[in-house]
């Protein structure tokens, strides 16, 4: 069974802090994704990666960056956290196939005060 692990379930950070959200998958999946989930807005894609050291912007990349130095790990970075980045962040992975399902982590609920 695929396991996608997000390092923190809850995080509280202050405005202006640099924040790292970590995600690890154990199934050798090529693709990894970061979404944010907000009530009434659904899931919105922030960034994704098809391979190591490769990244692509999603629909809402502003204020975020990512890093993929190893195949199993995909990090989301908030360079200078702001209150409008308070959200639930979901990491997902999938095999390198268009219709391969996404496997999600449990999510990290980030609060920026």
């Amino acid at each position: 069974d695929v396991k996608v692990t997000q390092s923190s379930r809850y995080l509280v950070k202050r405005t202006g802090e640099k924040v790292f959200l970590e995600c690890v998958q154990d199934m050798d999946h090529e693709n990894m994704f970061w979404y944010r989930q907000d009530p009434g807005l659904g899931l919105r894609l922030i960034y994704f990666s098809y391979d190591v050291k490769m990244k692509e912007k999603g629909d809402i990349p502003e204020g975020y960056s990512v890093s993929r130095e190893k195949k199993e790990r995909f990090s989301l970075i908030l360079e200078s956290a702001s209150t409008n980045q308070t959200s639930m962040y979901l990491c997902a992975s999938s095999r390198d196939s268009g219709v391969s399902p996404l496997h999600f982590g449990n999510g990290t609920r980030l609060t920026v005060t």
Partner: protein, 108 residues
């Protein structure tokens, strides 16, 4: 541009009643569509995909290209079906565009 619309934020039904969660899409190519579900305190997971033409937990969904719809249906709702449901469209190479979600509440 690709878009997924779920018109209902909340759908409340009684146990044993039929359920239909609506999903409409906008996409210029040949669509690949999915339903994902998130039960309380659980991770988001795939429920079904149209290419598989499968029934999962009694749910089915038929792609209607003429109406650009992919509604999720179940003839008799159960309390354990209460969850958040997201319709999703394969919008790029391996990337999904999600709808805003519909919360299904099944009352006893």
């Amino acid at each position: 541009a690709q878009r997924v619309t779920q018109p209902e934020k909340l759908l409340s039904v009684f146990k044993g009643a039929p359920v239909e969660l609506k999903c409409n899409y906008s996409y210029s190519g040949s669509p690949e569509l999915f339903w994902y579900v998130q039960y309380s305190r659980q991770r988001l997971q795939l429920l079904l995909r149209h290419i598989s033409r499968e029934s999962i937990k009694g749910f089915t969904a038929d792609l209607n290209k003429g109406e650009t719809s992919f509604h999720l249906k179940k003839p008799f709702a159960q309390e354990e079906d209460s969850a958040m449901y997201y319709c999703a469209l394969l919008s790029g190479y391996s990337t999904l565009t999600f709808g805003k979600g519909t919360m299904l509440l099944v009352s006893p």
